[in-house]
Symmetry: C2
Subunit: 293 residues, 2 copies
Amino acid sequence: MSQTHDPQSFSADAIVIIGIGLIGGSIAAALKKRGFTGRIMGVGRNPSRLEAARRAGLIDEGTTDLTSAAARGSLLIFCTPVDLIVDGVCTAAKSCHDGTLITDAGSIKGGICQALAGKLPQRVTFIGSLPLAGSEKQGFEHADADLFDGRFCVVTPNQTTASDQMTRLRDFWQSLGCTVVELSAAEHDQALAQTSHVPHVVAAALASTVSASNRNLTASGFRDTTRIASGDPALWAAIMLSNADEIVGGLGSFSNGLKDLYNAISNQDATTLKNLLQHAKTNRDLLPDYEDR
Amino acid sequence: MSQTHDPQSFSADAIVIIGIGLIGGSIAAALKKRGFTGRIMGVGRNPSRLEAARRAGLIDEGTTDLTSAAARGSLLIFCTPVDLIVDGVCTAAKSCHDGTLITDAGSIKGGICQALAGKLPQRVTFIGSLPLAGSEKQGFEHADADLFDGRFCVVTPNQTTASDQMTRLRDFWQSLGCTVVELSAAEHDQALAQTSHVPHVVAAALASTVSASNRNLTASGFRDTTRIASGDPALWAAIMLSNADEIVGGLGSFSNGLKDLYNAISNQDATTLKNLLQHAKTNRDLLPDYEDR
């Protein structure tokens, strides 16, 4: 097992990234840029895409054979759609060597961690991860070696997680420039419903309202507010259905806030409306000041 | 009256910009950059801010005296908050010379045009304008000479508007790089409710939902979706209250779409959810492809 406490480097003989899209490709690019000296293997379903990612210099080799790749890595990172993670981890774990650490980059954690609890061989550790970085774009062509730099990464150990594997996972994300935050899987899902999943539902509803004749009358406000609605529908449907309870609760809170604004507008209540808008502005202006992407 | 059909230049002895903030400052900057040779006068309430704008090279002179400035310009552009436009135009019109064209850059038109109908002397023409460009930032320090380049600008003549003044207003916005679109004031307000005002209400509601402990768990999606909620509360409250009927209607349509998504999520209806997200994505991807700001 490779381990280091130097956040600038993470060492392992081989890292296996399953799913070489925007996130998987960006992890590979970030590892290369930051001097990772081990082998980066990519696993996917489409050989020609894997070969293209190899030619692009992101991975050292690509394969459609998860089992054989899993046997060669000491760290496996699942960057597939969330509904494929559990099956993938179970399949991979069968061929993993002793001490292998498996993580993911999926936007839900509760369902995944529950489904995997007690299912994996003792020699393998799974800890969930979510780097808080992304894009509405898809494909490794949009990979960005600096995508994770300066961002938070949530990791979700449980009470039985070995501390040396936690340290290793922390080192890994720190080596890509992340600040690591530990949460329980349930806390993660509650938080991400609020910060990511509900906003996606809202952006989708908003994007659907604009009529064809009004498209030219949008400006950067509408574009930004709806940007994430350009994300992949299948990928996001899987996330939303996996975190439905938290999202339903979050949409309730959002709708209550919207109703307050609606009432102030329809009642011509300038004082209340200004106060609500000021509260929103204050809250928005307190967001962490990382570089906009 | 100065008039030209060369979209690269607009000539006038003097242009008076009332309100030297982000929009007024950007109009001044765009005029300077595009070779406008006349005088640019700025009108505001704060002499030291006007002097700072003059030192920044945006305006040639600044004054707090709207009446005297209005007497010297052949084109007046009101870039004040929307609730100050009607009074300002009425005050300015009293001292305007024959043939003066007055416009604005406010995000509502119906209330303004109705309030001004029949109120202005014959020698003065008011036509509403809205350049579809902006920022959540405030102040001329954020002025951008290219803010209007490649953007649409709505103008709202009525049946009595003289065609030579319409041509002149069209030339003016084209000289800043805009494509000019004519709408009635009512059409403008309906469209802007959908493309700007409702998104602002939604972004404000969303910005208010994030708890202090979850702020660090936001990423670019949340930042973008809520960006416009950082806009000035007083300015936006005035816009919303002036276009309340259209916004209330637009929020109803938005809420219906949100309810469809909510139901699909709570019912674990993957097919419907994917279809709704695909519809949203398709609509978002069809937005005009101007440079993001």
